[in-house]
């Protein structure tokens, strides 16, 4: 065995790579459980690619057949229901894990120097995940698939000059239809593999600069780090166990919890559902999109820009945050802003879930007003974080010298 490894290592240094990048890769010893979510995200990606691959063996992209084919998978294919429920719920869990992963990074300042490129790869991954999930949701060709696709692709028409032609080009016709479904399937198959590639870049960038940690300081001391194996291999495995318990509880006992009942109705271009809602993980951004409704004919374009900007603004977060301290543990004001931001995202999600013309308190408070306020608050987070750090308004509490 070792003879064979020697032979291989002389030609391709596999052992060295494994040692330096996995088993003996030095990791801060004080990482808390929020640091489990990166490996969890990769784990879910693998679940998605595996279940998706087997689904694709039975699936057909065809406007007249896709709905029936998904039911055929659910009913006739051995464990087809398991594949499909794993894949459909996996998408929701993927977003939960990644949202926590992103918020972890925001709280502990993991986006700060020298991790900017690592952070940017993360945002690119997030964008690609959203595209993948959006196109995947179209594949069962139910009412929400169809009308969700119609509403979202239609947004492109807001782009000046080329918008209208662009939408026709994306559709492959004059409405969402069979050509749209086919190309979405092709892209939905491809994108996760591209995502996998970008994950490798993400990890490369990570290993170049190493993990941040809850204290947020650079490690100076040898004894502050421990080898990845066995410490973090076992911790990650334990995390995956907990994750799988929760995931499987949904897959086996509430598999339709995250699915919209309307998507069990076959797509019908002649009948708009009373209330078109995207999947829960898009809701905050959908609310931001709809909250810009006061600019007349520019509203649509402005809404699209605000929606895209809500994520794109994360790209410049490393330059907005100017505090001398990374971790929010020692930054009372930032911490407060952070939790308001999180709360705000939940409220935005709730606004996005409800019809645009809904209101609460007997109609006294239209949701659109809440939506606009929360959109303003969303962007205020980034602005205020800059203000309190760039002008030294925030006084940080004492930061430990070592971990």
């Amino acid at each position: 065995m070792s003879k064979i490894m020697e032979w291989v290592d002389a030609r391709l240094p596999v052992t060295e790579l494994l040692k330096s990048q996995a088993t003996e890769y030095p990791t801060p010893k004080n990482l808390n459980y929020w640091w489990n979510f990166g490996s969890l995200a990769l784990f879910v990606l693998i679940i998605m690619i595996a279940s998706g691959l087997f689904l694709a063996m039975h699936y057909k992209a065809d406007a007249n057949q896709s709905f029936d084919v998904v039911e055929h998978i659910m009913r006739d294919v051995n464990f087809g229901w398991l594949l499909r429920y794993m894949h459909a719920n996996g998408a929701s869990f993927f977003f939960m894990v990644v949202y926590i992963h992103i918020l972890r990074g925001m709280y502990y300042g993991s986006y700060r120097k020298p991790r900017e490129i690592l952070w940017w790869f993360g945002i690119i991954l997030f964008f690609m995940m959203m595209a993948t999930a959006f196109m995947g949701y179209v594949l069962p060709w139910g009412q929400m698939s169809y009308w969700g696709a119609a509403v979202i692709t239609n947004l492109m028409s807001a782009i000046p000059v080329v918008g209208e032609d662009l939408v026709v080009w994306i559709w492959g016709g004059f409405s969402v239809g069979d050509p749209t479904l086919n190309r979405f399937f092709a892209l939905h198959f491809l994108l996760p593999l591209v995502i996998f590639g970008v994950v490798i870049l993400h990890l490369w960038a990570l290993h170049a600069v190493h993990s941040n940690n809850p204290v947020g300081i650079d490690l100076h001391d040898e004894k502050d780090s421990i080898p990845f194996h066995p410490y973090y291999t076992i911790k990650d495995l334990y995390g995956m166990g907990v994750f799988l318990i929760i995931f499987c509880a949904f897959v086996f006992y509430a598999p339709n919890f995250f699915l919209e009942p309307d998507n069990y109705i076959p797509a019908n271009p002649m009948q708009t559902p009373p209330h078109i809602v995207p999947e829960w993980y898009f809701l905050p951004f959908y609310a931001i999109l709809r909250s810009i409704d006061f600019l007349g004919s520019f509203s649509k374009l402005a809404g699209v820009i605000a929606m895209g900007g809500a994520i794109a603004i994360l790209f410049i977060l490393p330059f907005l945050d100017r505090s001398p301290v990374r971790s929010f543990r020692y930054r009372p004001l930032s911490k407060q802003l952070f939790w308001m931001f999180v709360a705000d995202c939940f409220v935005l999600g709730w606004v996005g879930y409800n019809p645009a013309d809904a209101a609460i308190f007997e109609g006294a408070l239209p949701l659109i007003v809440i939506g606009r306020t929360c959109t303003a608050l969303y962007f205020s987070y980034f602005f205020l974080l800059w203000v309190i750090t760039a002008f030294d308004i925030e006084k940080h509490t004492p930061v430990p010298k070592s971990i």
Binding site: L82, I265, M340, G349
Partner: protein
């Protein structure tokens, strides 16, 4: 202020700010969890919750109910509705014999290899009802409220008393406060919108299909079930409620014939994962003891 006080104040504001942020966070969570259904229900009436034998982790389909339910579906629904994802032969899964299945299929002019397709064609249905009755294979999964909704629809039609009430109230073309209360409690209508109530009552009196639970209250399906509409052979009372319970049980099965397989596999998977995870936790503690 001396140093001690400054430190104390600092500690206090730190705690207070963290506390207020946490409170805000949980308040938002609560808002998101509690409000969606209650505050913005779109005209739908709250559905009575039913106990289904197949609900919950250890829920099981009751085979006798499935057999009765299949009979109701075939005899009372298939005139208009299909269940295209179910074949007659599959009914053997819950206790029909091959001979019985053959007889059921033949009663519909089909063979046991055929799907449960309605004899009514789409155009005829459209002429008669204005819409094509939806396929029922997935109906319990395709509506908010799931089985409870389907059951509510089947049992939510106006009774003879309700119709008499509608006629009586609308006889003088206006609704007194007393009458509004009566109507609200009998039909589940909102007593704060009298003009809407009047319109509903008028349409009822004119003979349209009122249903308490259908969003908008009027739709094209005439009441499909009534006491004794289907003759049971196993001695079960064939009241409207019982017929509805049975047919909904059958429709839940038709929506997901693999449900029992899913639940029984789930128990094994979860047990395995629990044990595995506890073991991994123990190993993790053991390994990390060297660091702490």
């Amino acid at each position: 202020m001396n140093y001690q006080q400054v430190v104390q104040l600092h500690r206090f504001t730190k705690q207070a700010s963290l506390r207020s942020a946490t409170v805000l966070f949980f308040a938002a969570m609560l808002l998101v969890v509690v409000l969606p259904r209650g505050a913005v229900a779109s005209g739908g009436v709250a559905l009575p919750k039913q106990n289904w034998s197949f609900a919950g982790m250890f829920g099981q389909f009751d085979n006798a109910a499935l057999k009765r339910g299949a009979q109701v579906a075939i005899q009372a629904c298939m005139t208009c509705h299909s269940l295209k994802y179910i074949k007659f032969d599959q009914l053997r899964q819950f206790g029909y014999t091959e001979i019985e299945v053959k007889a059921l299929a033949e009663s519909q002019g089909r063979t046991k290899k055929d799907a449960l397709l309605s004899g009514m064609d789409a155009n005829a249905a459209k002429d008669a009802f204005g819409v094509v009755p939806p396929d029922l294979s997935l109906i319990t999964k395709a509506r908010k409220g799931y089985e409870d909704y389907t059951f509510a629809i089947l049992t939510g039609y106006a009774s003879a008393n309700d119709l008499a009430l509608a006629t009586r109230v609308m006889a003088d073309d206006k609704i007194s406060d007393e009458e509004a209360k009566e109507v609200a409690s009998a039909l589940g209508l909102d007593m704060h919108h009298l003009d809407k109530m009047a319109e509903v009552l008028k349409r009822m009196a004119a003979g349209e299909n009122f249903n308490r639970y259908f969003p908008g209250h009027f739709f094209a399906m005439p009441q499909p079930l009534s006491d004794g509409a289907v003759a049971y052979t196993d001695g079960t009372e064939n009241s409207k409620i019982q017929l509805a319970r049975d047919v909904v049980t059958f429709l839940a099965w038709a929506g997901e014939p693999t449900m029992m397989e899913r639940k029984s596999l789930g128990v094994k998977v979860l047990l395995y994962l629990f044990v595995l995870t506890i073991m991994m936790y123990a190993v993790k503690r053991r390994i990390w003891a060297r660091v702490h």
